[in-house]
C-alpha cells in the first residue's frame, strides 16, 4: 500500500488534475480571492492617474503566456480607458502586435477611443533589451510610424510625447525578464513610475523590486488579473478561471502531502526492519 502511494502512476495524476480543473468550469464555486498588496498598489496607482495623462504599455505577450498576460492587459487597459487615460502600446515580442490590435478592436468602440488621438499602437521592434534601452533613451527617434504605417507626426497623441519622461506610467507586460530591462533603462534613469504585469512563475524574481519601491505595483499571473478585475468591479476571464486554478493547486498540494506521508512511513518501516 505504502509503495503504491509513493509511486502513484502519472496517468492517475493527470486524470485527477483534469477532473479538478473541469469541475469549477462546469459549476463555479465562487471561492474568495485574497487581494495581494502588489495588485492593490497597482490598482490604486492607476486609479489615481489624472484623466488625459498618457501611459506606455510595453507588451511581450505570446500564445504560450497569453492565458496569464492577456487578461492582465485587458483589465488594466479597460481601467485606463475608464479613467480616460491615453494609451501608447508597443511590442518587444514578435507575436505581441496581434494582441495589441485585438485589444483595441474589442474595446476602443465601447470606450469611444480613437486611434491616434486616444491611443497609439506602435509596431514591433526587435532587439529585446536594446529596444528597451532605445525606448528609454529616445523613443521619438525609435519609431517613425504606427502599426498602420501612418507617420507618427500626423497623430495628435504622439505630438505630446517627446521622451519617455512624458508618460505618467510605464507598464511592462511580459513572462520574461523585460521588467528588469524596464527598471534599468526607464525607471532608474528617468524616475518614471513602473508597473510589471508578469507570469506567476517569475513573481519571486520580481517581488524584491516592489519591496524596494522601484515598481509601484505588480500583477502576477491569472491571480493578479483576477484581483484587478475584482477591485475594478469588472469581472472577466481571469476571475472566471480562478476557481479552476485554485482547485488545481489544491490537487498538487494534496499529492505532495500524500507522497510525503507515504515516504516518511515507508522510511520508518524500513528502519524498524
Amino acid at each position: 500500500m505504502l509503495n503504491r502511494l509513493t509511486n502513484i502512476d502519472r496517468r492517475v495524476i493527470y486524470v485527477g488534475l483534469l477532473v479538478v480543473l473541469f469541475i469549477p468550469l462546469y459549476k463555479p464555486l465562487g471561492l474568495p480571492l485574497p487581494i495581494t498588496r502588489e495588485s492593490k498598489a497597482c490598482f490604486e496607482f492607476i486609479g489615481k492617474l489624472p484623466a488625459d495623462s498618457v501611459v506606455l504599455m510595453i507588451n511581450s505577450t505570446g500564445p504560450s503566456v497569453q492565458a496569464e498576460l492577456y487578461p492582465q492587459t485587458l483589465t488594466m487597459a479597460r481601467h485606463l480607458m475608464d479613467k480616460k487615460v491615453k494609451i501608447v502600446i508597443c511590442s518587444l515580442a514578435v507575436e505581441s502586435p496581434a494582441y495589441n490590435t485585438k485589444l483595441f478592436e474589442r474595446w476602443a468602440a465601447e470606450y469611444k477611443y480613437e486611434n491616434g488621438k486616444d491611443y497609439v499602437i506602435l509596431p514591433y521592434k526587435a532587439g529585446g533589451e536594446t529596444a528597451m534601452a532605445a525606448i528609454g533613451r529616445d523613443i521619438k527617434s525609435l519609431y517613425s510610424t504606427d502599426d498602420r504605417n501612418v507617420p507618427l507626426s500626423q497623430l495628435p497623441l504622439w505630438s505630446r510625447i517627446n521622451s519617455v519622461k512624458d508618460f505618467a506610467c510605464v507598464i511592462d507586460i511580459s513572462g520574461g525578464e523585460s521588467q528588469r530591462w524596464m527598471l534599468g533603462h526607464i525607471q532608474a534613469p528617468h524616475k518614471v513610475p513602473c508597473i510589471a504585469a508578469i507570469t506567476a512563475v517569475i513573481l519571486a524574481v520580481t517581488q524584491p523590486y516592489f519591496s524596494s519601491g522601484q515598481l509601484v505595483g505588480i500583477l502576477s499571473g491569472l491571480n493578479g488579473a483576477a484581483e484587478y478585475e475584482l477591485q475594478s468591479k469588472t469581472p472577466g476571464p481571469a476571475a472566471a478561471g480562478m476557481d479552476a486554478q485554485s482547485l488545481g493547486h489544491m490537487w498538487v498540494v494534496l499529492l505532495v502531502v500524500i507522497g510525503n506521508i507515504a515516504y516518511i512511513a515507508s522510511r520508518s518501516q524500513s528502519k524498524k526492519k
Binding site: 526587435a126 527617434s141 517581488q207
Partner: protein, 205 residues
C-alpha cells in the same frame, strides 16, 4: 584583421555606451544613440538570418527524405512570410489573422498548458522531505501556494499573510543577493569582452 576588427569594434562600442552613462557629452551621447539604433537594426537582420538558417537546415533534412515535420515547418514559415510581405495589411490581413488565431495560438497555448500536468507529476515526485533543506523548501512552497489560492484563505485566514511574508522577507533577501552577485558577474564578463580578453562570442577557441 579578421580577429582584431571585431575586438576593436566591441571595445569602442562598450566604452562609448559606458561613458555615456556617466558623462553628458554631446558627441558621446550621439554615438551611443547610433550604436543602440544599429543594434535594433542588427537584431531585425539576425531574425531574418535565423529564418534563412532554419530553411537551410530543414531543407537538408528533406533532401535526406526523413522529415515530414521539416516540410510542414518550411511550408508554414513560407506561407506566413509571404502573407506578411505580399498583403499590404501585413499582420492585419484576414488570412494571417486566421492562421494566428486558429493555428498558432491554440498550438502555443496547448504546449504551455501541458506544463500543468508535468508540474503536478514533478511536484509529487520531487517534493519529498529527504533532509532539512528539502523540508524548508517543501513547507515554504506549500504555504505560498495555499496563501495564493482562494481555497487556502477559506481554510485558514493566515495563509495569505504567511505567503506574503515569505515572498517579502526571505525571498527578497535571497533574490537580492543572487541579483547583485549576477550583476557583478555581468560587469566582469562585460569588462572582459570590452577589453578583448573574452573572444568566445567571435568564434575563437
Amino acid at each position: 584583421m579578421r580577429r582584431n576588427l571585431p575586438v576593436w569594434l566591441g571595445f569602442i562600442g562598450g566604452i562609448v555606451v559606458t561613458l555615456e552613462t556617466f558623462f553628458s557629452v554631446k558627441i558621446i551621447s550621439d554615438m551611443s544613440k547610433a550604436f543602440l539604433e544599429w543594434r535594433v537594426v542588427m537584431a531585425a537582420i539576425a531574425l531574418f538570418l535565423g529564418g534563412g538558417n532554419m530553411i537551410r537546415i530543414h531543407s537538408k533534412h528533406i533532401q535526406q527524405k526523413k522529415a515530414v515535420n521539416s516540410m510542414i515547418l518550411i511550408a508554414a514559415m513560407l506561407i506566413l512570410f509571404f502573407l506578411g510581405i505580399l498583403d499590404p495589411r501585413g499582420i492585419k490581413s484576414p488570412a494571417y489573422k486566421f492562421i494566428f488565431d486558429n493555428m498558432y495560438t491554440p498550438l502555443g497555448a496547448t504546449v504551455f498548458s501541458m506544463n500543468a500536468f508535468y508540474i503536478a507529476s514533478a511536484c509529487y515526485r520531487a517534493f519529498r522531505m529527504r533532509n532539512g533543506q528539502a523540508a524548508v523548501l517543501l513547507f515554504s512552497g506549500v504555504l505560498v501556494i495555499m496563501g495564493t489560492v482562494g481555497i487556502g484563505a477559506v481554510m485558514w485566514s493566515q495563509f495569505p499573510v504567511i505567503s506574503q511574508w515569505i515572498l517579502k522577507v526571505p525571498n527578497s533577501a535571497a533574490m537580492r543577493g543572487m541579483s547583485m552577485g549576477a550583476a557583478l558577474g555581468m560587469v566582469g564578463v562585460s569588462l572582459r569582452v570590452v577589453l578583448g580578453l573574452e573572444r568566445g562570442h567571435l568564434g575563437a577557441q
